[in-house]
Subunit: 338 residues, 2 copies
Amino acid sequence: MSERSSVTLSDVAAVAGVSLSTASRALNGGGRISAATRARIAEVARRLDFRPNALAQSFALGRSRTIGILAYNARGAFTEPVLVGAVAHLGGREQACLLYDTGFDPDAMAESVRRLLARRVDGLLVLGDGFQSQLRSVTGDFTVPVVYAHGLTDRAADSCYVPDGEMAGRLAGEHLLSLGRRRIAHITAERHDAAAAGRERGLLTTLAEAGLPAAGDTLRGDWSRASGAAACRRLIESGTPFDAVFCGNDQIALGVESVLLEAGRRVPDDVALVGVDNWETVISGQGTRHLTTVDTGLAGLGAAAAAQVADGRDDPGPHAHPCELVVGATTGGGRPGD
Amino acid sequence: MSERSSVTLSDVAAVAGVSLSTASRALNGGGRISAATRARIAEVARRLDFRPNALAQSFALGRSRTIGILAYNARGAFTEPVLVGAVAHLGGREQACLLYDTGFDPDAMAESVRRLLARRVDGLLVLGDGFQSQLRSVTGDFTVPVVYAHGLTDRAADSCYVPDGEMAGRLAGEHLLSLGRRRIAHITAERHDAAAAGRERGLLTTLAEAGLPAAGDTLRGDWSRASGAAACRRLIESGTPFDAVFCGNDQIALGVESVLLEAGRRVPDDVALVGVDNWETVISGQGTRHLTTVDTGLAGLGAAAAAQVADGRDDPGPHAHPCELVVGATTGGGRPGD
DNA sequence: CTGAAAGCGCTTACAG
DNA sequence: CTGAAAGCGCTTACAG
């Protein structure tokens, strides 16, 4: 394997006793070629372990086999899985990727767009950070496909992949109801936060469909563990009875749980807990999952968005990417006490 | 920006009134060129917004501006940050990357190596998963630089970047000692686990240097929260007095904490807790960090490894990448109870 | 069905 | 210091 495999198409043609163009056509499936010739050339190519020089091919075809990725914050916790999902999917299709981590600076973005154009990328994937409410549309700058992930743009025709927040709330609600819980409280971030709002809508819709009210008003704060803990104290002090809490994310859920434990309430016996994000690292074969959560499917979302770019498919508008319930000990999965 | 910027080097040469070769040399800094000519050509290039076609350049130079990445498990929790660190670093240097996620299958790896060779990658980065004890060396298959991250190979001359596990243990130990803790217990994974062993060595060395014994023998299990909880119960039952626990990772620490809370011991007042991994998502400006932990610096490790590949630097042997202590509420940082 | 030729847009010895 | 020319290894009309 170590020898530089610089056997070229000319070599193949020479050995097979045909012209360069015939060899090329035979290998690429184009044009009419007699089956016999095609087979002979294929055989020679195989025998010589011919691998077309990708650089020459790209140059001739004007296709770089590279997808550009423009990230608002590549290192953000919620961008990483999307990015990895996209990069892994692209690799599986022999597509390289070129990442520019622009931050939120419009000038940096514009410069990145120019560089991407010069690199002749075959498509562009723009990654929001999951917080930025609105992404800048750059679709007009490109003739190749542009797809957005983890954010929406200002253009309705742009193809945007976002997690299905309502589904997250629905899955959590349905799971808790199926466990017989009837007094479900909700602790999450502020109302103006789009992610919080979607998840809440899903929960409340599900409860309403079951003819149940929520256990008290939604308690709000930020996305932190401390905020969840504080809200849980308020919930307990309010005297509202509750047998489950749907938490806007896993950090909140952990904060809630610690306050419950200190207050002597047992999880899940007295109170079942569901978070969102699936942030817990569960190494396969080791232990059991502690926190029941909704996995927002960010890696799959990245892969789906990448797939559309790579396909050159046009599928305009927002796409709500499905999420998935993952059951752990805090709703009775796994061993109790884990 | 929308117009296809297909102004070519010939255009620049024509407008500047020089030959193609002169234009090329002027822009690339090569050869002797009169300052005046160089300036004029540069000016024309700027005015025309000339961007060399990267595909043509790559083809002519035989350099793809692409780094291959071979991952044992791209989607693994501990590979993601390394991968993102590497990809982001490479993007900043105009290097694309082509990821093959081979799993542990040697045939898939061999095939990926062949494809990478055909793509004429400028270098290769091999990503271990942080568990695999030994990586397969593929350095011999390439003439371009090969660097390994998050794993060691069987060849001493290979350049390998791994987290400095001993440093993690030292940082944790020193932090707890500086807080006045003197009875430090240790709960971690099995002895044969390289990561566990390194961290333990660091802790024990630090304690020994301070003339202190550990609080009891190291308690072992796996990397899960449940295992941490179980070990903590054993610790409490053993009657060994302890005022701190260094936990092999964050999951273990969370399990330990829940058992402490149920047992009525206060964190950090009665028992301080340090984990490893920095798995907690702390959104800037929201709340405070709960768990004190050692960040193993995986993203930085990925970037460092990528830098070496991109530089084409030769720096043989293992490189222990530094980690960093991150203080949270479980050792008194942040607000108590968070 | 097959081949000779042009072309993709650069870089780089080689002459002058 | 500058230019004419070859070459990187493919693909693809265009003839035959």
